[in-house]
Symmetry: none
């Protein structure tokens, strides 16, 4: 569907692997694990089906690689630095309608469902815990580890997941086409509500 770009890309293992990985990521993100067939992934990548076994061993291996190669940073180059405004900004961009054009959908969707394999579950949990930690780090308050604070950060993660899921599954308007600008205000309000007033502007 995508990369079958005429020239058969012969004899380039790295490129072939990469093409398969990207095709898989797109399909897994949009269609889920069961909805994705290896034949179609191979066709998208423009290579032979059996190469999936060669490079990823099995469908599960391909899925794990796809999950592992998914972007995890919430915000800028080095994650989200420490203040509330930047967190709101990062989230509103991440959750806007036209983010992730190369996936077709928000990549977090790949983290959901399938279940069963313990290793996959661990990967998914780790990814989401990563998001939670980034939110806490970016919330501009000390690392006081009280459980309610953790719960509140997880609720913010849940909000993000829910936005991605709803957009992908049913496309409610106006959420479906919301721009970063439209989301920034409401998200900032939610962040403040969940994480409390920003701790003193430490830096003057």
């Amino acid at each position: 569907m995508a990369d079958a770009s005429g020239a058969p890309r012969r004899r380039d293992a790295a490129a072939t692997r990469q093409a398969l990985l990207e095709a898989a990521r797109r399909r897994f993100t949009r269609l889920g694990y069961d909805g994705t067939t290896l034949r179609e992934v191979a066709a998208d990548a423009g290579v032979n089906l059996a190469l999936i076994k060669r490079y990823f061993d099995s469908k599960e291996g391909l899925f794990k690689a796809a999950i592992a190669s998914t972007p995890r940073a919430l915000g800028g180059p080095a994650g989200v630095p420490g203040d509330r405004a930047r967190l709101a900004d990062a989230l509103s961009r991440q959750l806007s309608a036209d983010a992730w054009p190369e996936f077709g959908e928000h990549p977090v969707l790949m983290l959901l469902r399938v279940s069963g394999d313990e290793q996959v579950d661990a990967l998914r949990r780790a990814a989401l815990q990563d998001f939670t930690r980034q939110i806490l780090d970016g919330s501009g308050t000390g690392p006081e580890k009280d459980p309610e604070r953790l719960l509140r950060a997880e609720l913010l993660v849940a909000l993000g997941v829910g936005v991605a899921v709803i957009r992908s599954a049913v496309g409610l308007q106006p959420l479906r086409d919301a721009t970063p600008d439209a989301l920034r205000g409401p998200l900032r309000d939610v962040i403040d509500a969940l994480l409390g007033p920003e701790s003193e502007p430490v830096e003057g």
Copy 2:
């Protein structure tokens, strides 16, 4: 798994149909569309596989019926009446760990994914719009239909969806086992943040 209650329930169309529907709802909710097999649904219901065709025509027909039969009320018997505290209360109960024991998971999960069929999409959209409307109705402010207010309500719906999805997919703690009491505070904060301060207690 459930209703194979010995006596073969011969010749009771309505009961048979109902048994199939409930079995299907449970499986679709927990395992998704692809993960649910008609044989198992029929076995759960204790009836013959071919009756699914008779009553629902096809797997998709069964799925549609399951979606259509899913509870839509956010709160009490007639939805959520008009004040902020009750909305927070209803949501915290709905999203707590042990709600919906008869489904195994939060029923909203059935509304997600599969896609493709236009009719199914319409059903799902309608269900989620229903939630949005109930939230707006329950938010204690006038029905001023500005789009941002709608977006903010949808974000609250997204939060709920996200909680259900995360709990089902990966089970982050402490969110996974959160009780209604643990959720009430944070949710109240989010509600207030998204829907603004409650309009003056109209009734004096």
Copy 3:
């Protein structure tokens, strides 16, 4: 290859199962486990491939059923009764060229190779031990259980297995086309050599 007899034999579970079993037995006997494909077995039986799953669950299930349904009696209706001449007679008939026309080969061939599955191994071992016991029973001597006597009986079983294998694999002449009459003399000599002179003609 065999039973695709025009009329599709619709709606007769027992007959369908039987047809599959016979087709499987023929193929397993001639071609071994790996050499037998379920598609061909189904084609031979003139039924759909998926029915193998229905009736035997898997290839291994089919194989087990085929082994279990294989004849085990060395001789007459009730095994080999007690004297040397009848044992020689039974063996020479069993190992002659044109025995087992309905299998294509000697059914003992199905008992060989594949390995791996413990349950299958047990079935095979039991079948061959059955033969050994029948030989000892038919040897006209007391049941003195000394190990060498057991070893000698097993060598006789080995001779039978070897004849079947050689005939099937390479077809050495004159062994390949040997008639019961041609085999009786040599086999009688071997039996006597292995099991010792017949114990006193009891009914002297």
Copy 4:
């Protein structure tokens, strides 16, 4: 598994070919034709898979070479010389439990099954006829070529084949672990029974 001896054995065609051949012989003997995969053979030999094509052209080519390179001598360095005792001795050693440690199983097992290819069949037949001839030569009687005598020699070959097959396939005890000493007596009896009393010790 065997020859991956560190240094990549570069540029030594004969050694590479030999390593492949030995690895193939081991696998074919233990696992049969279908159970042997070329990738594993190549891995055992520590060489690249494609070299099998270079040296043996195909899986069948490799199999033919493996068959052709299998030991055919029944007894000592120059086959079995002429007397009955030595034949029994040679056979009992050949058929004992721990003969052929370098194959894992008795090499005659490679001669069985697969079928189909005429050339392979000819090789196998020739090998078994070789055994038959050695037996007749070693039986201490004149080369009177009557067919029954041939049949009797073939039955002895069949006994050997059967022992190897049973040991490999199911492992009946006590045959499975029989030592040369345990086999010598019974085999001597069978030899005498099949080939008749030794003709006068011609050589004084």
